[in-house]
């Protein structure tokens, strides 16, 4: 299977729907361990992404992802804006001039992860969205084509596991041990991103 520019638009629309309907949930999670704006920020950003993608016609996956990245970068703010912006920009750059087949796409996601780590000066196990992106990508490497159910489950499990981690990056790190027991908001929004990707794939089959 190969993703098209149209698939990217579907992916982002689905992500947006999930984020809009879970805006308050994300904000509550961020109120518990951060400053309570994650839902508001992500909702503002993805709403704009959908507007942008609907207003433009795309030839390539890379172009659609680039606009997604730039819109997130300029509309989300906070920690999540540069992080998601970087992730999608790296994916876009990696796919430039290439088809979005499984191998290329997965390579692109690896670039995204590297970008996240560099931008956030962080790594796995620090209770950030990296704890969803990294295991999802690891799991994808074991497969050789898109697998919606694998994606969903890995993302979901990884998100759940952030509960047990003690935060050492981002605002939640101020809580120290008290961060344990709470989901990481960025990991939850990342779960929506991958769940939406899974549904896009399913729809595309």
């Amino acid at each position: 299977m190969e993703l098209t520019a149209h698939d990217i638009i579907t992916w982002m629309k689905k992500t947006n729907e999930k984020i809009q309907s879970n805006k308050e949930h994300l904000t509550s999670l961020d109120q518990a361990v951060g400053d309570g704006d994650h839902g508001i920020n992500m909702a503002r950003g993805f709403k704009e992404v959908v507007v942008k993608l609907e207003d433009t016609s795309y030839e390539s996956v890379s172009d659609a992802l680039k606009d997604t990245a730039m819109t997130l970068m300029s509309k989300v703010g906070g920690a999540a804006g540069p992080l998601y912006g970087t992730a999608f920009l790296k994916l876009s750059t990696s796919l430039k001039g290439k088809s979005a087949d499984y191998t290329h796409f997965l390579n692109g996601l690896e670039e995204s992860l590297a970008g996240l780590k560099q931008r956030g000066k962080s790594q796995e196990g620090e209770k950030t969205l990296i704890d969803v992106w990294s295991p999802v990508i690891e799991k994808m490497k074991e497969s050789d084509d898109f697998d919606a159910s694998l994606l969903k489950h890995t993302a979901g499990d990884s998100m759940e596991k952030t509960k047990d981690i003690k935060a050492t990056k981002g605002r939640a790190s101020y809580l120290g041990d008290r961060s344990i027991g709470h989901l990481d908001p960025g990991s939850v929004s990342s779960f929506y991103v991958f769940e939406a990707l899974a549904e896009t794939i399913e729809g595309g089959r």
Binding site: G36, I40, M73, G77, G78, P82, G170
Partner: protein, 331 residues
């Protein structure tokens, strides 16, 4: 949630319009941005000073724009760091050819967004330097956190870096003095009540009727300890001693002090606190060069306060005392 707002999504936009309307002679908004700049920015051959961060901390940061302080302030959404493109607009607005200095508070989002903006600026040939302010002693400064937060001590960085730039200092000189201020400034706060981000609609945390949170962050981030509200004198001791412990102060040292209100605490209470803070500092043999009591770095309608101490030297003193026309920090 009771607030004087219209659509909660547009609070920052509305605020900026009201701000410019109130200061038409000294401030301008860069069109289609959330950047506020001095009316006469950029000043040719002066290092531009740019600060910013999430909104909700007023008068930070736009209130510190003025001769001898900031050239531009970049206003993010509520408690949300502004985006790189906006910070880049702020840099351009302040760039008079001598480079631009960024004052950043140590939060992951601020650091990332300002860094990316600096990259954009450098790509366009604007020289950029920066300082990351981390004065909040409530946070352990270890590899297990993102480091100390930047709170009210930032105002002293604005003031002294701004004065250095106004006096013709080079970008490197401005950076050097900002680093010195940051190395010598410490703060700690306390909250008696939480605050509510308009679009969130509910408070960021809950305190019982008799509780306060020592070491609170300016976005409601958790502090060191939650305990029963004590007297002004005890609160003053707790905050001041924690600050005093953190760097070496010697008898006869000159210090500058900010007793900062978090937003909803009456000035009367800040002065009551200041009484005791003064006593403690004098007992310690310190020389209080200047005291600032008021709302300088707020958290919406949070009630509470913070104490900031800056250990001064002969280089910083005249820069702190230099004139400033910033409405929130007229000297």
């Amino acid at each position: 949630m009771k607030k004087i707002v219209n659509n909660p999504e547009y609070v920052v936009r509305d605020m900026l319009e009201g701000l410019i309307a109130a200061h038409p002679d000294s401030l301008k908004q860069i069109p289609e941005t959330t950047v506020v700049a001095s009316k006469d920015a950029p000043l040719q051959n002066k290092v531009g000073i740019v600060s910013g961060g999430g909104s909700g901390h007023e008068p930070a940061h736009a209130g510190y724009i003025g001769d001898g302080m900031l050239d531009a302030a970049v206003c993010g959404e509520m408690f949300t760091s502004p985006t790189p493109d906006q910070v880049f607009e702020g840099i351009k607005a302040a760039d008079g050819g001598a480079g631009v200095f960024l004052v950043i508070k140590n939060y992951t989002g601020d650091v990332m967004n300002f860094d990316m903006a600096a990259e954009l600026a450098e790509a366009e040939g604007i020289e950029v330097e920066k300082i990351v302010v981390n004065d909040d002693v409530a946070v352990e400064d270890s590899s297990f956190t993102t480091g100390r937060r930047g709170i009210a001590g930032t105002i002293f960085v604005h003031k002294i870096a701004g004065a250095k730039a106004a006096a013709g200092g080079s970008l490197q000189e401005v950076k050097n003095i900002a680093e010195k201020v940051t190395a010598n400034v410490r703060s700690m706060g306390v909250a008696l009540t939480p605050c509510t981000v308009p679009a969130a609609g509910k408070p960021s945390f809950v305190l019982e009727d008799d509780e306060m949170e020592i070491g609170i962050g300016i976005h409601g981030e958790p502090g060191i300890e939650r305990k029963r509200v004590t007297s002004a004198d005890e609160i003053a001791e707790e905050l001041t001693n924690k600050v005093l412990e953190d760097i070496e102060f010697n008898t006869g040292d000159d210090v500058a002090l900010i007793v900062n209100g978090m937003g909803a605490t009456p000035e009367m209470e800040l002065y009551i606190l200041n009484k005791k803070v003064n006593e403690i500092l004098l007992e310690r043999g310190l020389n209080i060069h200047k005291t600032f009591v008021g709302n300088y770095m707020t958290s919406l309608e949070m009630s509470g306060c913070s104490v900031t101490l800056l250990k001064l030297d002969e280089e910083m003193k005249p820069l702190l005392d230099a004139e400033s026309s910033a409405p929130a920090f007229r000297i």
